[in-house]
C-alpha cells in the first residue's frame, strides 16, 4: 500500500494537488516528483499543493517540495503551499523555507494570488 495519496483538481488555470499520507524518503517523495513532472509535461505550471492531510514529512520530503518549487519556477510557473500542519510549518521555519514559499491557509485566497 502506498504511503501517499495525491489527487488532482482544477480551479481555472490552477491545478490543486491534494496530498495525504506521508511525504518521506522513498515512495512518498518519488510520487510527488512524478506528479509535478507530469503536470509540467502537460503544460500546467500554476500549482497549489494542499498539505492539510499530510501526517508526516521528513527532510527528504522537504527537499522534494524545494525541488518541485524550483522545477515549476524554471518552467515560468508558480508553486504555492496550502494548509500547512503545525509540524510542517515548524519544519519549514527551522529550515528558513517559510521565506521561500508562498503559504496560504485559505484556498480561495491562494487561488486569487495567481491572478
Amino acid at each position: 500500500m502506498s504511503d501517499i495519496n495525491i489527487s488532482e483538481r482544477q480551479a481555472g488555470d490552477v491545478t490543486i494537488l491534494d496530498l495525504s499520507g506521508k511525504v518521506t524518503i522513498g515512495e512518498g517523495s518519488v510520487a510527488l516528483r512524478s506528479a509535478i513532472r507530469r503536470l509540467l509535461d502537460e503544460g500546467k505550471n500554476k500549482i497549489l499543493l494542499n498539505l492539510g492531510s499530510v501526517g508526516y514529512i521528513d527532510s527528504s520530503g522537504i527537499g522534494e517540495l524545494v525541488s518541485s518549487f524550483t522545477a515549476v519556477n524554471k518552467e515560468g510557473g508558480s508553486l504555492k503551499l496550502l494548509n500547512l500542519t503545525q509540524k510542517i510549518q515548524d519544519l519549514l521555519a527551522i529550515t528558513k523555507l517559510l521565506t521561500v514559499f508562498d503559504v496560504y491557509d485559505a484556498e480561495a485566497e491562494a487561488l486569487a494570488s495567481y491572478n
Binding site: I25, G26, D58, S59, I62, V66, S67, F69, I94, T95
Partner: protein, 136 residues
C-alpha cells in the same frame, strides 16, 4: 531502572520506517509523551536514512545498528553505520541563503533541532556512530 533495546536493520530505505516503528514502540513502553515521541521519530528517521544512504551506501551486506535506552529522565539513541566515516562539519549549512534551494542536506539540522545533544564518533572497528540524547 534502565530500559534498553538493540537491533540491526539492513541497509535499505524500508529500514527507516522499521526503525521509527521500533523506536516509537520503545518510547511508548518507556512512558514518553506524544511530543517527545514525535521528536524521537524524526531523529531516528533522519539518522537511519543517513546511515543507509551515506554511511553504508545501500550495501545490504552492511547493517545499521540501533541502540535505544531510557533511564530516569534521559532518552538516548545511537545509530551506527559501517561506512568509511563522516564529518558533519563538512555538510553546508542548509539555512544559508546560498543553500536554501538545495534539495538535500537538512537531515542533520532536524536531528539537532529535535534532540538535546547530537554527536558523531568514529566507531572502534569502523563506521560512524551518531549518538543522540533527549531529556524530559
Amino acid at each position: 531502572m534502565t530500559l534498553q533495546e538493540v537491533f540491526n536493520l539492513p541497509s535499505r530505505i524500508e529500514s527507516v520506517d522499521e526503525a521509527a516503528s521500533k523506536a516509537d514502540d520503545f518510547a511508548k513502553k518507556s512512558g514518553l509523551g506524544d511530543d517527545f515521541i514525535s521528536s524521537i521519530d524524526l531523529a531516528v528517521r533522519e539518522s537511519v536514512a543517513n546511515a543507509v544512504k551515506h554511511g553504508n551506501k545501500f550495501d545490504e551486506s552492511k547493517v545499521v545498528e540501533i541502540r535505544l535506552s531510557r533511564s530516569e529522565s534521559v532518552f538516548e539513541m545511537s545509530v551506527r553505520d559501517f561506512g568509511t566515516g563522516f564529518d558533519p562539519e563538512e555538510i553546508p549549512d542548509p539555512t544559508d541563503p546560498a543553500n536554501l534551494l538545495k534539495a538535500s542536506g537538512r537531515g542533520i539540522l532536524f536531528m539537532r533541532a529535535f534532540m538535546d545533544e547530537v554527536e558523531w564518533v568514529n566507531a572502534d572497528g569502523g563506521g560512524t556512530i551518531v549518538r543522540m540524547v533527549k531529556r524530559q
